[in-house]
Every structure is written in C-alpha cells, then in structure tokens.
C-alpha cells in the first residue's frame, strides 16, 4: 500500500508538538503570510516544471530552449495574453478593487 503525499503531510503535521509563538501583532495576518510564502514556494515548483517541459520540447524540436522562449506576441495572440493578464490581476487584487469597504465598527475590532 502506498502512502499518498497528503497522508504523508498529515502524518508529519500531526507528529509536531509544542507551541509556535507568533511574531506579527495579528495572528490572522501571520497565518495569511504563512500561506502566501507556501504559495511562493509552490509557484517556484511549478516554474521548475514548466522549465523542464520547455527544455523537453526544445530538445524534441532540436532548437535551443532560448529560441523556444523568445516569443513576441502580436495580433490576436497578444490580445489574448493581455486579457488573460488583466483577468489574473483582477482575480488576485480583487480585495483592492472591490468598492465595498468594511464598516468602521468591524474594521476597528
């Protein structure tokens, strides 16, 4: 029977003991920072995977990987990339774009 990654991570996390004091003034902020940094690591992992694929494709096409990466978008493709980038920013920065501000009472607590 093989152990899945999720099971392995659960076993690891459950074996940890003791208190882990926070540094930031706000515990929720510290949690979010931990999540953001973990996502940073995962992004780097994904970038490595893309890099591996690019190198493989370049090898299959018998061209240097720099040639494969040296793409300049124009026309319809450029438009598509632009739209995709704007949508990404809108998703990630939703909180800054959302006109609904918190009521002062909730914000102060």
């Amino acid at each position: 029977m093989t152990t899945t990654s999720a099971e392995a991570l659960t076993a690891l996390i459950l074996s940890a003991r003791g208190v882990r004091p926070q540094s930031l003034a706000n515990a929720e902020a510290e949690e979010v920072l931990n999540i953001a940094l973990a996502l940073l690591i995962e992004l780097s992992v994904s970038n490595d995977r893309i890099d591996r694929l690019e190198r493989m494709v370049a090898a299959l096409r018998d061209e240097p990987v720099s040639a494969l990466r040296d793409v300049r978008y124009d026309g319809e493709a450029a438009q598509e990339r632009q739209e995709a980038m704007e949508a990404l920013l809108a998703r990630v920065l939703r909180i800054m774009l959302d006109p609904r501000v918190q009521p002062p009472a909730a914000a102060a607590s």
């Binding site: 152990t3 990654s5 991570l9 003991r17 510290e30 931990n34 995962e42 992992v45 995977r49």
Partner: protein
C-alpha cells in the same frame, strides 16, 4: 568524506518536484538570512528602541527588555514571521518524501544494520528514557523532536534530521562540502601535532554525519557515537553501513556514559552544547574528560553565536530560543565554558578556545570550539 548531500540507501527517494520544493526553501531562507536579517540591528535603532521609549519612557536595558523592544519593530516582526514560516517549510519539504518512502527506507535500514558483513554496531538500551529536556521539545521545530521513536525499525527522526539539516545548512550559507569533523581534523593537525586517534567518541551524534566522516578519515580507528533516540541511531547506523564505514552507535545519555575511564584518544561533541541545559552540559564535559586517556584530546565544537558585540546583537541572535524551539540557545551563548572545562577537571592552561573557519561556505561561516588535552 563529504558529510552533506551524500547519496546512501536510507535517504528517501525524491521526485524532481520534491527537490524543486526543497531548493525553493533553501533560496527563500538564503534571501532572508543574507538580505533581510542583517537589517534587524538597524531596525532596533530606528523602530524598536523609539517604540520602547514611547511606551516606557526609557531605553530598554536587560535582554528581556531588548527582546520586548524588538517585538515592537514591524520590520523585525515581519522577518521573524517569515523566518519561522520558512523553518516550518523545511520540515514540510523533507517530511513528505520521508513519510511516503518510509516502508522502503525501513526495510533498507533493517537489511543494513543486520547484514552479516556489517562493520559497526547498534546498541540500543530499552531501559533508557531519553533526556526529557531534549526529548520533549521540537528543537528547531523538527516534528517529533530528536528522540521520536515510533517503534521497531523506525528511522524517521534520523531521516528528518539529515534531510532537514541539509536544507537548513544550505540556506544558512554552509557549503555542500563543509564538515564539522573536517574542522576538527584540521585543528588536530594544526594544534595537536597531527594526533592520529585510534579510538574516537562522538557525543550527541544525531544521524552520524561526523561519526562516519571520522571513520572514513581514520580507517584504522574505532569510532563510537552516542545519542538519545532509537530511530535516530538506527538511521545513523544504517547510513554509516551504506557508506561503507564502521561506527558503533550507543543509546546513552551524554551525562552518564558506560565506557571505562580513559577509553578514547579523542572525544568530540559537535553542536551538542547548545541543545542541553547547564547541568547536563557540565556533566557531559566531566564525562568527556573522564573518558579521554592521558595525552588524549577533548574538543567540544558548536555554533559561533558567543561573543556578540552588543546586547542588541546578542538578543537578535537569540531569536531561536523564542521562535525556533532552541530552548538552550542563550544558555549556551552566555555560558562560561572555560569555567565548565575547569570544573570538569582540566587545568586552566590546558584549555583553549577556538574561532574556526568553516571548511567551505559562502557567508564567512565560522565555528566555535573549546578544547583541552589531558596531561600524559
């Protein structure tokens, strides 16, 4: 022998993706250590001290007050939170491959430690109850701690220590070819007339990186190594066998070892002093002196965090005590180790403290050591 980043049969198999994750954690830690942490002392002057004065009407004085002041600095808090997050991610990045590959690793370890042609030995003591001051804490947040032993064939604590230690060290700027044993071997050559020990004791050996390196460097020597946890020692023994060197591992407490007086030419401890309290450290040093033969050498090596220029630097270095489960970090940093060596039985003129360059590393890494030769 290289001690870090070695290939052997009890290491977990890792996928390219898992290696990417470990490398990203190394890079994150390196950035925090080289680019962010150096600003802490400056942030003390610009943020922490003014905030403390605003709150209490005077400058912070004691280490406790300096620590409280640091926590008033947003820059320090951001670094501290990020550093702890990165420390936790060390264990996540190495723990996943270990727990996934554990069945194979346990089988490999069992085969190695019971092989008829094994060179070393494993001596576990079922009656030994691992020293609680270490066993009950997740030191440097290693899940389960040094002494975690999940029963027969378990090797998790050893694998976590070795794999996590590599990710930690590379992020700390410690080179892949660095070796604390190498530093001691160089010291023996330069300061102790090239003593070639025939019997060596490594106290607090963990996964046995140094123990195996001594066995490789002195192929005629008999090397013994002591630690507290069964799973750590099983892993250490299997690792040494897989590397083809003989080391005799013992589950024993550093404060009360069962070897006869004068059994060893060289007694070393690597990075042990900062993990144990005052009483244990003194008892360990007494034991080290008892166990070395007349004319033999004792060397206790550890991290170079002693002798900080100011109290602010000292408290900044003491982050590990508060946030990294290093309960005895500051006990060690501020201890009078010369006095302890004298209390252990060495004469003042036999004791030498050393500020040692690492064998390899990019950040000007140094190690501390205190040594003494027992009169012949």
């Amino acid at each position: 022998m290289k001690v870090r980043d070695l290939q052997h049969a009890v290491l977990p198999e890792t996928s390219a993706e898992q290696r990417s994750r470990q490398e990203a954690v190394v890079a994150l830690r390196r950035l925090l250590n080289t680019r962010v942490r150096p600003r802490n002392v400056e942030a003390f002057a610009s943020e922490a001290q003014p905030a403390f004065i605003a709150a209490y009407g005077r400058a912070p004085q004691s280490p406790e007050e300096v620590q409280r002041a640091f926590l008033l600095s947003p820059s320090y808090r951001r670094w501290s939170a990020a550093n702890r997050a990165a420390q936790e991610m060390i264990w996540v990045s190495v723990g996943e491959p270990i727990y996934r590959d554990l069945d194979r690793m346990r089988a490999a370890a069992r085969a190695l430690v019971t092989a008829p042609d094994r060179k070393g030995s494993l001596n576990l003591d079922p009656d030994y109850d691992p020293s609680a001051e270490v066993a009950d804490v997740d030191i440097h947040l290693q899940p389960g701690g040094y002494a975690m032993d999940r029963g027969e064939d378990d090797v998790v604590a050893g694998a976590l220590y070795e794999c996590g230690g590599n990710v930690f060290s590379f992020g700390q700027g410690i080179g892949r070819a660095d070796s604390k044993a190498g530093v001691v071997i160089r010291l023996l050559d330069e300061r102790f007339g090239g003593l070639r020990p025939q019997r060596i004791l490594d106290i607090g050996c963990s996964a046995g990186a140094a123990s195996a390196a001594y066995a490789a460097h002195y192929p005629d020597a008999e090397v013994h190594a002591v630690d507290i946890g069964g799973a750590m020692l099983r892993y250490a023994h299997a690792r040494a066998e897989s590397l083809g060197v003989g080391v005799h591992f013992h589950q024993m407490d550093a404060s009360a070892m069962t070897f006869a007086d004068g059994s060893f030419d060289l007694v070393v401890s690597h990075n042990l002093m900062h993990e144990i309290g005052e009483a244990k450290r003194r008892a360990m040093m007494r034991e080290a002196r008892r166990l070395v033969r007349p004319g033999g050498v004792v060397i206790h090596q550890d991290v170079a965090i002693r002798d900080q220029p100011t109290i602010v630097h000292q408290v900044e270095r003491d982050w590990d005590t508060h946030f990294n489960g290093e309960v005895h970090w500051s006990t060690y940093a501020t201890a009078d180790l010369r006095a302890d060596m004298r209390a252990a039985g060495f004469a003042a003129d036999e004791i030498v403290e050393h500020d040692l360059a690492a064998v390899q590393g990019f950040a000007g890494n140094r190690w501390y050591a205190i040594s003494a030769r027992k009169p012949a």
